[in-house]
Symmetry: D2
Subunit: 149 residues, 4 copies
């Protein structure tokens, strides 16, 4: 009879991510707790926002790939932060994510762009790629800008 | 000159969630690390899967509502677990989430159902509601079943 | 050498649909030209809108099933008309359609419902079924209400 | 008492479109009846498919803009034809269309591209623009290739 060992996470790494997030978060754009927990770095250039992070094994799904929820999270913040940079805070009306390939390691980068920027409603898209430039996931979304008073 | 206090998280609560996840995870359906970190409980009845969790403030976005990425995560696993229960593991081809209302507290429950179950391709939907039954978000998704050898 | 006969449409039926549309259209809700061309009938009950039509072979795709564009069209108008009935005209921000089964004949009915009705933004869904109640397609959409002056 | 004149279509133009479609259709890619009715021209270059058509007023919605169902139809066929050109027929699993701007006149062109081409599952996107290059709508979709025997 076979007793299959369940895969174990690198718990020390998960702990470093957690303690690092607690030590560095600030509930604001670019630095809120979950963004820190997932180790997201932000870069803005030419009407794009790039969110980069290192895949760590506490982010995996039961099948050993990056969990789709984390993918959605990172794509979402890449778009939300670009909108915020351009015209202030907004709220996501909807997001769609298409999953192209399972990510299993390495640095990943989501790059967001506007499909259309409007005063009230904006559409954005974002691509998550691995370090070889291969597409992991593609997202589009609809946002409503919030007035800033 | 004004110095605005940034909102602080309940860090002890975040720490309990993290340590609890580390102590109880198993990289399998229902128990993988992120599901434990977000405190997800699973219940299956009559072709639905219910995923319940308590909103904790480490899950918030910079604007003080449940982060849309966490919403997407929970909706995703409610659908993935229902498919797995019915016919084994599958991979998400795509997911769309529509956000109805910001969630700020309390227990939240995602209930998933099949739109169509197929041998190869399945469609599912899921609703996230708060403890008053008010809709927080609605998702639909497309899955491809993986053969189980 | 084989010369395969291309399938021919019932051209008399297409002509009747066209002439009927020309004779009966009015560029208003429920009666605009394309709705007449596709033979759509509208029924409103208990916060739903039902759009029924008879599949005619001029609506087919090259593979002999109802064209997905016609499916999207009928689902779209079932949702737009329900919103219009409830709170006046609106504009579609986005629509997603999932295709469950090819429709090849018979009367088809799209039934729309609100996921959430709002003063500014509304979410709707709609299901297209055949005369056996089998699901042909499922749609969700996001609408922005237009003010009525 | 006010009697508001309803807008009238250019019925002669609608008739020319219909008769032209009947005279030239062939239920195959590029030439099926609905594609002919909407006057679609197809062009393939460098892994894109361009579908161009002239907006005619029988294609309008009750508010006087191009009907979203026609937009969805044209975006759908631009993607389906590109997939067919690349690797044979496929079936749409789902499509999402985001509407950027109402189109009221002129030639319109949908240009489709692959997000990811796969043997089984492919993702495509397509943009509909007017003759000034302004974006009318943006679509993404998921396709399953059908085997060719």
């Amino acid at each position: 009879m076979q007793t299959k060992e369940k895969p174990k996470l690198d718990e020390a790494e998960a702990r470093r991510a957690f303690e690092g997030a607690l030590a560095s978060y600030d509930q604001d754009f670019g630095k809120f707790f979950l963004a820190r927990l997932f180790g997201c770095g932000f870069e803005y250039k030419e009407d794009t926002c790039q969110v980069s992070f290192e895949l760590k094994d506490f982010m995996l799904n039961p099948q050993g790939g990056l969990h789709g929820g984390v993918t959605a999270f990172v794509l979402d913040i890449s778009m939300g932060h670009l909108l915020w940079k351009k015209s202030g805070p907004g709220t996501t009306l909807e997001i769609k994510v298409q999953y192209a390939k399972a990510a299993r390691s390495g640095p990943l980068t989501a790059t967001s762009r506007f499909i259309r920027h409007g005063r009230g409603i904006s559409y954005l898209r974002s691509e998550l790629v691995d370090d070889k430039g291969e597409l992991i996931a593609f997202a589009t979304s609809t946002w409503k800008s919030l007035s800033r008073h």
